[in-house]
């Protein structure tokens, strides 16, 4: 199969996956406890209001009509009204989504910079005490659930040392207006960002570190490294320019997939640090039976995972010409 055929097939697969995900959501949220209509109906309504609301939401239609209507709404980005906030879900979630992206992107960038550097050095200094210690540290980091890392950091840096604010996104509270820089560039924001981002970084550090180390070991066994060393190039040049650069390829794929997984982790990290993101919003929406909001959050997280998996597959074939498209 050629490259083009592979890409076409992978795109079709993306559409099918999205469709299956849509449908799963539909089924899940129609299964929510209680009378199928009760979740869209608020307390204290008169029977007439109830009827009207049910008709408004199209819940008296046959299931397949509801399904088609539901897909149409998702495709147009219309998730309905939040029960709790009484605002359109789309506008609530847009802000939260941005907050989550800023937090998780920072965490992942930290994780991959630290992980790639440490992994490369661990591979380079094979059999050293540094390597053995590094592996233990990495495994310990991987064994710690995100909420546990968060609690430890919170206890040490906030409760004990008092260096950082304990929760939220800014001291003043509430959403500020203004542009992206005003919102996410202030010192106050960065102080709030540091601990949750560090928590994510520690939680996602293990994968790039271990992967970088093992590909580094493979590359170091290759002949061209011996040749470069024999040419008399300084060790640092061989490490950075030749060995590390050739080891980085598999990391790209894994990074894309990790971005998807991090969406799940955001649920926990945001809860620990009271970060006003989508994950925390989803937990409280589920607890408050605010189904439209919960569904929109779930839908967005799933979409990120699906798209990042897609990007990972494409990046893989474009970056490595040796890959066979199966």
């Amino acid at each position: 199969m050629g490259l083009r055929a592979y890409v076409v097939r992978r795109c079709l697969q993306l559409v099918v996956t999205f469709w299956a995900f849509f449908t799963l959501l539909f089924v899940l949220f129609r299964m929510m406890p209680g009378d199928p209509t009760s979740m869209f109906i608020m307390d204290g309504m008169t029977p007439e209001q109830r009827e009207q609301r049910i008709a408004e939401l199209g819940l008296n239609e046959p299931l397949h009509v509801q399904y088609i209507e539901y897909v149409r709404q998702l495709l147009t980005g219309d998730f309905g009204q939040s029960f709790i906030y009484n605002d359109p879900v789309t506008s609530i979630i847009a802000v939260r989504f941005m907050n989550t992206i800023v937090l998780m992107a920072t965490a992942l960038i930290f994780a991959y910079i630290i992980g790639i550097t440490f992994g490369a050095l661990m591979g380079w200094w094979r059999d050293s005490r540094f390597e053995r210690g590094g592996i233990v540290v990495t495994l310990v980091a991987r064994s710690s659930p995100e909420f546990w890392v968060g609690i430890v950091l919170l206890s040490v840096f906030v409760f004990w040392l008092g260096w950082f604010p304990s929760s939220g996104m800014r001291t003043t509270g509430g959403e500020l207006g203004g542009g992206f820089v005003a919102r996410y560039g202030s010192l106050d924001f960065l102080r709030h960002l540091f601990l949750p981002a560090l928590t994510g970084a520690i939680a996602y550090l293990a994968t790039p570190t271990l992967l970088m180390r093992s590909t580094m070991l493979d590359v170091l066994n290759a002949d061209f490294i011996e040749i470069k060393k024999a040419e008399g190039l300084p060790e640092r040049t061989v490490l950075y320019k030749h060995a590390a650069r050739n080891s980085i390829l598999p990391i790209v794929t894994v990074a894309a997939i990790a971005t998807g997984t991090a969406m799940g982790g955001s649920v926990v990290i945001e809860t620990v640090f009271n970060w006003p993101g989508m994950g925390r919003e989803m937990v409280s929406a589920v607890n408050n039976n605010d189904y439209p909001l919960a569904m929109a959050a779930f839908f967005l997280m799933g979409s990120v995972v699906i798209i990042m998996n897609f990007v990972a597959d494409l990046a893989y074939v474009y970056l490595d010409p040796r890959v066979e498209y199966e």
């Binding site: 609690i151 649920v267 997280m301």
Partner: protein
Amino acid sequence: MSTEQPSPTDSTTTSSGERLASLRQRFEVFEGDRLGQIGLAILALFIFIGIFARPYTIEFLDFTVSTPGLAPYDPGERAVGDRLESPSAAHPLGTTDMGRDVLSQLIAGTRVTLIVGSLAAFMAVFIGTNVGLISAYFGGWVDDVLMRITDIVYGVPFLPFAIVLVAILGSSIVNIIVAIVLILWRSTARVIRAQVLSHKQRPYVESAQAIGAGHVRIMYRHILPNVLPLTFLYAAFAVAWAVIAEASLSFLGFGDPNMLSWGEMIYNVYTANAIREAWWWVFPPGICIMLFVMSVFFIGRTLEKEVNPELNHQ
């Protein structure tokens, strides 16, 4: 398990001596591997604590045997007037805001972790191995359908899915395990499929076909034993992920209210707003989760060396 590495010579008889030798061989991987040994020791300790957490009374004919439980108190018992007390002789790990003994809760929570870890991992790996095996062995449309399903499951974010499912089905340990299994089987399925694909081409499968062995026999008697080591490795990882998933779900408040787990203990500290002062309540369960998962990862790493020697772990 003597069929795990079949060679032409050990096909027919297995005496008990040979079986013992093969069992010893099983543990030889751990020789000289400090991390693996530490992992085994920690895991054994947790299993011991989990089994003997609560007192047992066994009645057999006229005998009644009672073993004392390791937990000094009933985890739900309230010691009046001992609210949020720091560690003392009576309560080695202090008490909760309800005056309950933290150490007893910790010991009782071991059992939940063991149950979730072992059951979820077993079921996930069982499904994953079968899907991978069937998919690779039959190929064609069977492979297409099963692998597209696997791809779709890969598109579902783990924790949000588990939260929604547990909200729908109710917070019970069974539903938590179901939610975990529904996602966790995917990685085993992919890996086993790749492995079986390479085994399918080998001469031993062809010769089995030549003498007229059926599909089921070839799949489960001939190919499966060769991929079992990989299955064990993924079972170890599955235990780790299942325990982390259960802890995270419980921490978010979706745990089984009738079975106190370590994650739920931390959730309780949070909802009691006691995280700032009650270090004796929040740290022990967190450390236990970390140690448990760590022990499983250490064991997994050792198994990995045997499964994939060229990984060059040394």
